[in-house]
């Protein structure tokens, strides 16, 4: 029999052991292919042309992330492979005893690894190709994209990338295997199975103390970060994060001793049925894999947080690019006398483009109204958080009557002001949170002899220039009389223009966008943000919104999924290996008269607890962590995180649950309970 035949037989024989390995490899290959083939996908094509830059960004970020993903998957595969090799020490020992040289054993192993790798690569890419089509449809649905030009796409570059990556990973695995085999000693191989378990639990007193301390610190850090996150200084934040991570490790390190100590005290529970056995098994698992469990917990935590925040960002942006965020086809700010004038000079007649438009002056009052002055007594607090800001920068001012003209055009409610009142418009929450405090404190603005009081105790969450991110400048609205009576205080600043095109056709509107930009002297091939000529169209907002969201959602999905797969695979492999060690124990239980049902229950409970423990800890941490993330995101106007968390949980439960079920079924087979 040649090595190839032996290898093939071995793979067939150890299907049980290989199942999780296969599952992980196939999922890994499929996901790798799917994400790397994104640029060619139908859904991507139907995101319109101006989003191209976003897609370019997406592709380059995914390429960068793929490197990290490849490293993670590579480590995971080496780890999984190591498990398989360990399992089969006795088999290798037998080969050597029968006179097979180490070289030949290595050869068999090379053939096995190669075949497994090839099979999973083929199956994985197949799955990836179909998965990516399905993925396209989901993406299209998610962002209401046009799927009319949908077609079956096969990406050669993604295929080549995937193959190269996996060939490299498998080459590493081969080298690793060969080294491992060359180090084996025959005696150790043959005795591998006789090894007795020496799973000494950690000292229970120390465990209890460490556990309680870890829980105490986590609770403290959670509460601080979740409820007082906004008030934390950078150092305190750092302490909470690092301390939290250390606590997680301490928690898992001491969990086995603590859980055992507690459960054993409930004698009625502990001496019931085979609870003592289940407890010992579970505690033994946690004891021997505390470090990996802590790592898994952190990975699950990271993926839960990025999943939920990523998907909340999606709903946020979708809301922003809806009608509320884009009331007109175009808004622009031009530092000069008149944008209309410039357009006319350049041969673009606004009447040809616009169905309706307004052009209104923006003025400034450097002496009284600046970025800093609006914060009143809270300037110091603002300064702590915005290091780069120019606090003397004058804020744009507009008269009430002009502002109401815009309100009418935008379809918003008109505003009323008393003669001694002013209004601040700001939808940039990072700035608004301090301005709000100043307004609430009644900070006054003095123009000439007139003292003005806040009309509202907070900023109006409105905007003049459209933006997909809710990060607009601040505008101060003053009564017309104040501006008329104090002409010396004000200078012309810029003009603001907004309007709706004559056309409703999408393609035509893009042409108008370009005409308008060119008319104002903006280089559309090389568009750069500049304060003096800012043209923001509905198309821009929508496209960049979709582009950004797609970017975020994809990266989040990519990393999150890989994290979840890695975590689940590590737990699954550990459990399968433990199950093989436990075969004898389950046999003994059977001889003692423990029913099959009870033994299945024991196995199920043990596996469930193993999967659940890191997940539950990660979930609790996520709930608190998101409390903080929510606070941060609120600065941009986020509110709803519910859908994000739900989605994250669904993805987790599918992948994690899939691994759980596979593990349980295989473990049952391993311990001979059918």
């Amino acid at each position: 029999m040649n090595s190839f035949k032996i290898a093939l037989k071995n793979i067939k024989k150890s299907r049980k052991d290989y199942s999780v390995y296969f599952l992980t490899l196939i999922l890994g290959v499929a996901i790798f292919y799917m994400f790397n083939s994104l640029d060619g996908q139908g859904a991507m094509n139907s995101i319109s042309r101006s989003t191209n830059s976003a897609i370019q960004a997406l592709v380059s970020i995914i390429e960068a992330v793929s490197v990290i993903v490849a490293v993670i998957l590579g480590l995971l595969i080496v780890y999984a492979n190591n498990f398989l090799i360990k399992r089969r020490k006795k088999e290798f020992g037998l080969y050597m005893l029968l006179g097979m040289g180490k070289r030949k054993v290595s050869k068999i192993l090379v053939a096995e690894t190669g075949m497994v790798g090839l099979m999973s690569l083929v199956v994985g890419i197949g799955l990836g190709i179909f998965g990516s089509q399905f993925f396209s449809i989901i993406v299209a649905k998610m962002f209401d994209l046009d799927l009319s030009d949908y077609r079956f796409v096969f990406s050669h570059t993604a295929l080549i990338k995937t193959v190269i990556n996996y060939v490299v990973i498998f080459a590493a695995v081969l080298v690793f295997n060969t080294i491992t085999v060359s180090k084996y000693k025959l005696l150790d191989l043959l005795n591998a199975e006789k090894r007795q378990e020496k799973n000494l639990l950690r000292n229970s007193t120390v465990s209890v103390i460490v556990f309680v301390a870890a829980v105490a610190f986590l609770t403290y850090a959670n509460i601080r970060v979740c409820f007082f996150g906004e008030d934390l200084t950078r150092n305190a934040m750092f302490t909470c994060i690092i301390g939290g991570m250390v606590s997680i490790f301490a928690l898992f390190w001491s969990a086995s001793g603590f859980i055992f100590d507690v459960l054993r005290r409930f004698k009625g529970f502990y001496s019931k049925n085979i609870n003592s056995f289940i407890t010992r098994q579970f505690v033994g698992n946690v004891n021997s894999s505390s470090v990996s469990m802590a790592l898994i917990c952190l990975m699950l935590f990271a993926s839960l947080v990025i999943f939920s925040s990523g998907f909340s960002l999606r709903s946020f942006i979708n809301a922003k690019i809806g009608n509320g965020g884009t009331p007109v086809d175009v808004t622009l700010r031009y530092e000069g006398d008149s944008a209309v004038g410039v357009l006319n000079d350049n041969g673009v007649d606004p009447y040809d483009i616009f169905d309706e438009y307004v052009e209104l002056p923006l003025i400034k009052c450097p002496a009284s109204i600046t970025l800093g002055s609006l914060l009143g007594d809270y300037l110091a607090e603002g300064k702590e958080n915005f290091i780069m800001a120019d606090w003397d920068y004058p804020q744009s001012v507009m008269s009430l009557s002009n502002y109401n003209e815009i309100q009418r055009l935008f379809g918003r409610k008109e505003v009323k002001l008393e003669e001694n009142e002013y209004l601040v418009i700001c939808d940039f929450q990072m700035y608004a949170q301090y301005a709000d405090k100043a307004l609430k404190a009644g900070t006054t603005v003095t123009i000439g002899d007139t003292t003005l009081y806040p009309a509202k105790d907070k900023c109006s969450d409105e905007f003049l220039l459209m933006s997909g991110l809710g990060a607009n400048g601040t505008y101060v609205i003053l009564p017309d009389s104040v501006i008329e009576n104090n002409p010396d205080c004000f200078e012309d600043f810029a003009t603001f223009m907004a309007g709706n095109y004559v056309t409703k056709d999408k393609e035509e509107s893009y042409a108008y966008d370009d005409a308008l930009k060119i008319g104002l002297g903006i280089d559309i091939e090389n568009e750069e943000a500049s304060l003096d000529k800012m043209v923001i169209t509905k198309n821009d907002v929508r496209d960049s919104g979709i582009g950004n969201t797609v970017l975020v959602v994809f990266i989040v999905l990519y990393i999150g999924t890989i994290f979840v797969i890695s975590s689940a695979a590590i737990i699954a492999l550990k459990i399968l290996s433990d199950s093989i060690d436990s075969t004898g124990k389950f046999k003994i239980l059977g001889r003692m008269g423990v029913t099959d049902k009870m033994r299945k229950n024991a196995l199920f409970t043990q596996i469930l607890l193993n999967f659940a423990l890191p997940f539950v800890v990660a979930f609790i941490e996520t709930v608190f962590g998101l409390g903080f993330v929510r606070d941060m995101l609120k600065a941009f106007g986020f509110i709803n995180m519910g859908s994000g968390i739900t989605f994250a949980l669904v993805v987790m439960v599918i992948i994690y649950g899939g691994y759980f079920v596979t593990t349980y079924i295989n473990s049952k087979r391993i311990v001979d309970l059918r």
């Binding site: 001496s271 049925n273 001889r591």
Partner: protein, 257 residues
């Protein structure tokens, strides 16, 4: 006449297909009375392990009957079979078969907790049996912290703590040195005489066998002969008789023990 705990009637076990049948057990009949310590001896391949497996419900006879406490165990299935093993049988194996992630105490207690015995009673009974078998000081130890002899006595304690109708011991001294073997056999005799446990022991070691009160010899799946211990004579005499019989049984110098 004391009660018959175990009756084996015309037991037969075949392996293989039609035309090429090996008879592992060939028409074996015997019985064990309550409180008896019976040894079964035979060379490797004589069928003694098959017999033990059939009695312990791990394997099934091709023909014949095994009655334990008058119940035909061949007819037992599923839950009833488990309940029977749990309540009527106690096992001692050559390789101890202790759960190595549990302490001696927990190993013994487990046999009781699966019978749904209340935890206070479990404590009392484990302590009592530990005292009888002199393993009180290792109760909180794990199997890897104990000597072979201690492990086997813990296994014996687990086997008898439930007061089973029949204790089945399969080469209990097979993995022990001579000193531990002696201590274990003395423990088994103690269990037999003090607690009136009925013990069925399979062995090919004449020394261990000499502790039994009666010995059945099996050769090629058939009952060869039977020896009874004379309570008047010392154990040494019985041992010599066993060695003698073994020699005849083997019929080959290589198989002399």
């Amino acid at each position: 006449m004391s009660k018959k705990i175990l009756e084996v009637i015309n037991a037969e076990k075949y392996y293989g297909e039609k035309g090429n049948v090996t008879k592992a057990l060939d028409d074996i009949s015997f019985s064990v009375n309550e409180g008896e310590f019976l040894g079964i001896m035979g060379a490797s391949g004589s069928g003694k392990t098959t017999l033990l497996n059939c009695i312990s419900t791990i394997d099934k006879l091709s023909a014949g009957k095994v009655l334990i406490n008058g119940e035909n165990i061949n007819g037992l299935k599923g839950g009833k079979l488990d309940a029977f093993r749990r309540d009527e049988l106690g096992f001692i194996f050559q390789d101890f078969n202790l759960l190595d992630n549990m302490t001696a105490y927990e190993n013994i207690a487990l046999a009781l907790s699966i019978q749904k015995v209340n935890h206070k009673e479990i404590e009392e009974r484990v302590e009592k049996i530990a005292k009888t078998l002199e393993i009180t000081e290792v109760l909180e130890k794990f199997p890897y912290q104990m000597s072979g002899g201690q492990k086997q006595r813990v296994a014996a304690a687990r086997a008898v703590v439930t007061n089973p109708g029949l204790v089945l011991a399969d080469e209990p001294t097979g993995a022990l040195d001579s000193k531990s073997s002696k201590a274990l056999m003395e423990s088994l005799v103690k269990l037999n005489s003090e607690l009136n446990s009925t013990i069925l022991m399979v062995t090919h070691d004449a020394f261990s066998a000499s502790y039994a009160s009666r010995i059945i010899f099996i050769k090629d799946g058939k009952l060869f002969t039977e020896l009874n211990k004379d309570p008047e004579k010392p154990r040494k005499a019985f041992f010599e008789k066993i060695v003698e019989t073994s020699a005849v049984l083997g019929g080959d110098a290589n198989e002399l023990i």
